[in-house]
Symmetry: none
Subunit: 221 residues, 4 copies
Amino acid sequence: MNAAKTSETGSRSSPRGRIDKRQAILDAAFRVFARDGYGQSCVREIADEARVAKPTVYNHLGDKETLFHEALQAAVGRTVDRSLAALDKLRGSEGDLRATLEEVGHLLLQNHCCAESQALRRLLNAEAARFPDLLNEIQSAGAQRIQNALADRLARLALAKRLNIADPEQASEQFLALLTGPMELRSRLGTRQVPDTELRSVAGAARDTFLLAYAPQGEAD
Amino acid sequence: MNAAKTSETGSRSSPRGRIDKRQAILDAAFRVFARDGYGQSCVREIADEARVAKPTVYNHLGDKETLFHEALQAAVGRTVDRSLAALDKLRGSEGDLRATLEEVGHLLLQNHCCAESQALRRLLNAEAARFPDLLNEIQSAGAQRIQNALADRLARLALAKRLNIADPEQASEQFLALLTGPMELRSRLGTRQVPDTELRSVAGAARDTFLLAYAPQGEAD
Amino acid sequence: MNAAKTSETGSRSSPRGRIDKRQAILDAAFRVFARDGYGQSCVREIADEARVAKPTVYNHLGDKETLFHEALQAAVGRTVDRSLAALDKLRGSEGDLRATLEEVGHLLLQNHCCAESQALRRLLNAEAARFPDLLNEIQSAGAQRIQNALADRLARLALAKRLNIADPEQASEQFLALLTGPMELRSRLGTRQVPDTELRSVAGAARDTFLLAYAPQGEAD
Amino acid sequence: MNAAKTSETGSRSSPRGRIDKRQAILDAAFRVFARDGYGQSCVREIADEARVAKPTVYNHLGDKETLFHEALQAAVGRTVDRSLAALDKLRGSEGDLRATLEEVGHLLLQNHCCAESQALRRLLNAEAARFPDLLNEIQSAGAQRIQNALADRLARLALAKRLNIADPEQASEQFLALLTGPMELRSRLGTRQVPDTELRSVAGAARDTFLLAYAPQGEAD
DNA sequence: AATGAATGAGATTTCATTCAT
DNA sequence: AATGAATGAAATCTCATTCAT
């Protein structure tokens, strides 16, 4: 995205011209795939969007499938990094757990609902059957990693007696489900941009239910 | 498949003949779309699968987009009916709520994870951007209807003091989220068949968390 | 060739429209392949030459390789039939053997040097490595069959004491070699049309040498 | 192959360096053309086989057609030299003519059937129509020169009364025809490697027939 | 002199759709 | 109503060739 803009400046002869061009192609590819789906996207359109000739795409990425792979992997990397950063706020067992849980939930939801993540999910869903390997790679490097990281944090909080959790994996799974589950319908499978107040409301409700179920007796509310 | 065979009998002029043939085409279309996606499916393959010549498909359904519409709407009808039937078990405010909730959750999950529902979800995700109207129709006739029906049942149970629910819409949304949210990862976006014991375990956990959050004090466990 | 012209007349709705069209495509294909070689020919040109849309070619023949196969096999059929007909003149053990041998040789040479045969040979040579199966089929159905048929005739003549031949296969091979061997150079690998007087002269020389080698003592000249 | 390695040593500025590289490219080109044909070969493959970058090929040889020209001319030079060397054995009018004829025939056949000659013939056949000038150059510098050289030797032998030949050109043509004519079928147009015993047998048969036709009365056998 | 990168042109093949029967 | 045949349009991918370094 912004890489494309960067390559505008000095795309003539900069020493990292190739990197810029490869990145520009991947960005363009993701945009086009997100807009039209894999089957309906054509390489010519991607090349045009990247301001590059068609064979250049093939020189850099090999074929359409590889292009899809790489474009999605780049995107998943970005989105997972953002979610892991949000989870960092749960480090440390002090502070207002109630507030922190809502803040983290809200950040996760924002990331879950940003245009890039939604497009990514739609593409994965669409092509899951066609590219099972890609799916496995991306899910284990993506959603699974986030769920594990959250389980780690919850386990620490359980040790610190801030939460009453027997199975951190399940608790993590359920907290994430309470956040993202409602979004499928509310965002119309990712085609509608959900307003931030709505995200905040869902995050709040998730926190409430989660704490009712997992907070120790005295701290519930 | 057998619809095609049925249409053999009396395909000449019986009023059933045309309906059968139309149905055979729609069934075949859904199977092919589910297998290959919209963009990768070709009408010839659908015609072959329906044991019909290509122009016959056009005669009956008009064009590929219409075919997609109709095939998906037929499938969504089937799947929603199954889920609504499951929700009927929540009618009446007596009986073992704990057991009923798990049973209903389990049935909903089974329906959510059957091959047809998974394919339907994949197709909708894939083509959401391309057919926004179809998406709206289907979601409001599908997931939304189920969520509403569950909210109705929960409201009745709240009235009967069996549950402590302020906002039945939200409770419904969260119960469904606790059921289906975990399936995204566990079923690998619908490409892996989740064993029934796993479904039962997820349904049990959903019920537990739901009751911890929404059961009146005395009845919690 | 003439089939194309035939299909001109009444190509609209004749009951054998398909046959005509398939034949027109095969003829056009042979012409184009002969002119440009396999690799340089493009299906579009063949379709244009056959006055047909490109996909029609694919509907009838499948792909470019199959097209090549079929076009060559049709041509080899025609040319072999002509050569076998020429060999029929050697049936019967009476008459002027000297004159008959020259006449048969001349006919074989004419067939060997006609534009179609030369193109066929050039194409086979060119693509022998690429289509070894085709080559085997065509050679055994072509040159080999002619050589066998000639060997049969020579064996009869040997039995009738008109020739002094121990090994009819070898004699047949050598008679054909004396005819066609010189043509490689004289016809510039089939790119030059050899005048008929030259063919007659080569046929005469072949007959002379053949008879000097294989005629019984008394009948030599 | 080893030419490429040789050019490693001192490829910087030695006068041999460029020649070696040019030769390596020509060798690689012949191998690739022989394997895939002109139309199916791509310059990149040639460059790879020569261990050289693509533009280097263009720097040295200009374009693909020129490359084809030069590669074939180099190959034809090698093969003709071998055949002329074989014909030298017919110099001098003494010795066992019967044995010498077979030996020479055998050598000519070996050269005719070696992989390089067969590939050369295939390529010429394939592209005869496309490169008529190349064909003329190569045939007059190749097959024609050999036929002339053999005619010279036969004329000498006729003068020395060792053979009874009125037209040395025709006798030369026929001897060569008796040798190479049978090879077309036996070698499957150059795709089958003919065993040496078979070559020897064909050479013997050619010599026998040739001598029956052209030996003076007393020396016939 | 040699090369990595880029490109315009064009190849094969497939698809949705329509005629004529 | 149902179909075999035909087609215009477009997709993926490759190739010969040229810049800029």
